[in-house]
């Protein structure tokens, strides 16, 4: 009973937050509401027995994305862009859109109500077959073994997003650094000195823990990226117009390790990303760490928005 009250409240709050975030005219408020929405969603994941997702949502969805959104708001700068213009659609079109959305929501809700549990499907199999110690946790097993191909491809998505951001040539860090209060206060560097090591440790721990408990390359990578973001904000790291080869290598390290492990072992194992039993654990750990590094760096570069990084004083 208490639990369903809690569920009802959470669900209601989710909906209200999403609604407010989309309709408030003030952009800043919208963004803040969206971040809060993300955090509540993380809570929801935890409630729905998806701790991996809770971590990922908190770190990537609310954390990194929140920083990016706020930074972008800041970079938009001029007070004009604070208020978003009201919809240019006519009232009738808006009502039509509202009705359409309501219809969509109604249909989906009814369908979700009717859909049965997929017993005996892939999910049951995945829970039953946990072959390797490296992937003792079902979600990790799916991500790094059964459906590792998807994981590999999504790393490529991240890489492309970074290259795309470079091409957009709009450095976020430079845009918000010019007029920031952080420039001349000693507090921030102190905070960075305190927090960055902690975050690095936590990130590394999350990657390591992924094998048997919630966590993994994405969650860990996001925390590592957060450390980087902090350092960038604290003027420990700055942007550079060009990327050094080392940085590039680190960015694609995960992809490279993943692909080459798969390709090199394919002739002997018969299929891509099938590993010999003795080495499987090691390889998967290797892949995870490489992925985490690349993800961390990519997310950080998405934040700075400039191709390169350099150390500041």
């Amino acid at each position: 009973m208490t639990l369903s009250l809690f569920d009802g409240l959470t669900a209601l709050l989710l909906v209200i937050l999403a609604w407010r975030c989309l309709v408030v005219p003030d952009l800043f408020r919208g963004i803040v509401l969206f971040v809060v929405f993300g955090l509540l969603l993380a809570l929801t994941w935890a409630r729905l027995d998806a701790p991996d997702l809770a971590l990922a949502e908190a770190a990537i969805g609310a954390g990194i994305l929140g920083v990016l959104l706020l930074g972008t708001w800041r970079a938009l700068g001029s007070p004009r862009s604070g208020e978003t213009p009201a919809s240019s659609l006519s009232r009738w079109l808006q009502i039509a859109s509202g009705l359409g959305s309501a219809l969509l929501a109604g249909l989906v809700a009814w369908a979700l109500h009717l859909v049965p549990g997929s017993e005996g499907g892939a999910g049951t199999l995945a829970v039953e077959e946990l072959p390797l110690p490296a992937t003792g946790q079902p979600v990790t097993a799916v991500l790094l073994d059964f459906r590792s191909y998807d994981t590999l491809l999504e790393t490529a998505v991240l890489l492309m997003a970074v290259v795309g951001s470079w091409l957009a040539r709009s450095s976020l860090l430079d845009a918000i650094a010019g007029n920031d209060a952080t420039t001349d206060t000693p507090v921030v560097p102190a905070l960075v000195r305190l927090f960055a090591p902690v975050l690095l440790v936590v990130g590394a721990y999350l990657v390591w823990a992924g094998a048997h408990s919630p966590g993994g390359a994405f969650q860990g990578g996001a925390v590592l990226a957060a450390a980087g973001v902090l350092m960038a904000l604290g003027r420990v790291l700055g942007t550079a117009p060009n990327v050094g080869w080392l940085l590039r290598l680190l960015m694609v390290l995960g992809l490279l390790v993943f692909i080459s492990a798969g390709l090199l072992l394919m002739p002997t194992e018969g299929s891509f990303m099938a590993y010999p039993e003795r080495w499987a654990g090691l390889i998967m750990h290797l892949v995870e760490y490489a992925l985490a590094l690349s993800i961390a760096l990519s997310l950080l570069l998405l934040f700075t928005g400039a191709p390169g990084l350099r150390r500041l004083g």
Partner: protein, 484 residues
């Protein structure tokens, strides 16, 4: 070896992209050329294997579906991979010339394009509903940065619009996948097709979501708004790739799903006619818009909007002939459209502008570019001898056999409208400059062999496809799934 080819066709191009990412294009574009070789070889070998032994499968990680992901290369996949290899290979050659003076853009192009190539192959090989979502996103996110290579504010606007809609489209698709997974607990297309029969209206809803998502990605008419700016504003080789291959990716997936898990919902007359109605709207609207554009590249871009419409005419016909016709249309359009964009790009490069009105009299100076435009235009109009004509023939025959005679009329009308916009350009080329106006033609820039030959070869291929129907359709084989 055969079983490894699908994997290589995905990852060798991607490795090439990563290579350029790390090392740059290399001295005299060595790494770029190597990348093209890396991409071409497995693709062509795979196509050859499919032609020789039939469907090739690969269970990734050694896990059979439903647990694992399956790569499958059947006739349809092989044909699309072949199209990608031919168009991609030739456009790559053009790009070597096109970006010769812009080192930075060249480097980014050679990172993104091989990644896009691998992603396209991945999509064509995917036999898994969720993996198809991932590959669709890969294709989109590799394609949009390419649009940015033009560097203009317009390109940025187009890219942003494209991104938002594409993201929404894939989320819609994913919503459908979620419902399908909830219904039957598998993501494998083949297994899903077997288990989904009689799944009722939830499946219909799932189909509606997935199809709408794909239509958004494919820029079918109410969702076409981003396409002309993005395709018309990008650098020529990018436009060629986007129009010839990227929009096809979403349509490909639609066809694949129609012949597989979504067969039942999409075969209901109402759905079939709704989709065909969108196709008809796309054909008519796109063509009329193309007739009204003032800039050459926009004409070609709107032509893509129109030509995509033909591919939706399949659903009410639903026969072998229509299936062959639609896919042949996709292939023929891909080749011809790439040729058109390269020709338009070359004309733009040579004249310094692409305003049709101001092209009067340039026909004799830019004979080769306009010639290629005309050759590719023949295929777009669906006149013989060309691939477009064979596709039109098949579609017409399919529509008449299915008793959908008014679709036949639409197809013919679309061809005539296409003739309208193609000849409008050629007319400008043939017309002598006004003798009263003492303006001389502006200095015409020279194009090198690297920019000339790919255009010419693509245009000739578009014509040559008019004679290659037999082998290609044999490779395609029967309609996979239940219809065959």
């Amino acid at each position: 070896m055969t079983e490894m080819l699908p994997v290589l066709a995905v990852f060798l191009p991607m490795l090439g992209g990563v290579l350029v990412f790390l090392l740059g294009c290399g001295p005299r574009n060595a790494w770029s050329v190597l990348t093209v070789m890396l991409s071409l070889t497995p693709s062509l070998l795979l196509v050859q294997q499919v032609a020789a032994v039939g469907t090739v499968e690969h269970h990734l990680g050694g896990w059979a579906p439903p647990l694992g992901i399956r790569l499958m290369a059947d006739g349809l996949s092989a044909l699309m991979i072949l199209l990608t290899a031919v168009v991609g290979g030739l456009v790559s050659m053009h790009a070597l010339g096109h970006f010769a003076e812009r080192a930075n853009a060249a480097r980014n192009f050679w990172v993104l394009w091989p990644l896009l190539w691998g992603s396209l192959n991945a999509l064509f090989l995917s036999a898994d509903l969720f993996n198809a979502y991932v590959t669709l996103e890969l294709v989109t996110l590799a394609a949009i940065p390419l649009v940015l290579l033009a560097g203009s504010a317009q390109a940025v606007n187009a890219a942003l619009r494209y991104l938002i809609l594409a993201l929404f489209g894939s989320m819609l698709y994913l919503a459908g996948v979620a419902l399908v997974y909830g219904l039957i607990g598998t993501l494998d297309m083949q297994l899903a097709a077997e288990r989904l029969s009689g799944a009722g209206w939830v499946l219909d809803l799932a189909a509606a979501l997935m199809v709408t998502g794909l239509l958004v990605k494919a820029a079918i008419v109410p969702f076409h708004l981003w396409l002309p700016d993005a395709h018309g504003g990008a650098p020529a080789p990018v436009s060629a790739l986007l129009s010839a291959l990227v929009v096809k990716a979403a349509v490909y997936l639609l066809l694949r799903l129609w012949s597989g898990p979504l067969f039942e919902p999409l075969s209901q007359p109402a759905a079939a006619w709704l989709l065909a109605g969108l196709g008809v709207a796309a054909i008519l609207y796109g063509s009329v818009q193309a007739l009204r554009q003032r800039r050459l590249k926009l004409v070609v871009a709107y032509s893509t909007v129109a030509q995509l419409g033909y591919m939706l005419l399949l659903f009410p016909m639903a026969g072998l002939l229509a299936w062959q016709g639609v896919i042949y249309h996709g292939v023929a359009h891909g080749v011809a459209k790439a040729a058109l964009f390269l020709a338009a790009g070359n004309i733009l490069y040579q004249l310094g502008h692409d305003r049709i009105v101001d092209m009067r009299g340039s026909g004799s100076v830019l004979a080769i570019s306009f010639g290629c435009f005309a050759l590719a235009g023949v295929s777009i109009m669906g006149l013989p001898p060309s691939g477009g004509f064979l596709a039109k023939w098949l579609l017409l025959q399919g529509s008449l056999q299915a008793g959908a005679w008014w679709l036949a009329l639409v197809i013919l009308a679309g061809g005539l409208l296409a003739a309208g916009y193609v000849f409008r350009v050629l007319r400008a080329a043939f017309q002598v400059p006004d003798p009263d106006a003492e303006e001389k033609l502006p200095e015409v820039r020279h194009i090198g062999a690297m920019m000339r030959w790919p255009m010419l070869l693509l245009a000739l291929t578009a014509i040559g496809l008019g004679f290659a129907g037999e082998p290609l359709l044999t490779l395609l084989g029967d309609v996979p799934g239940r219809l065959g």
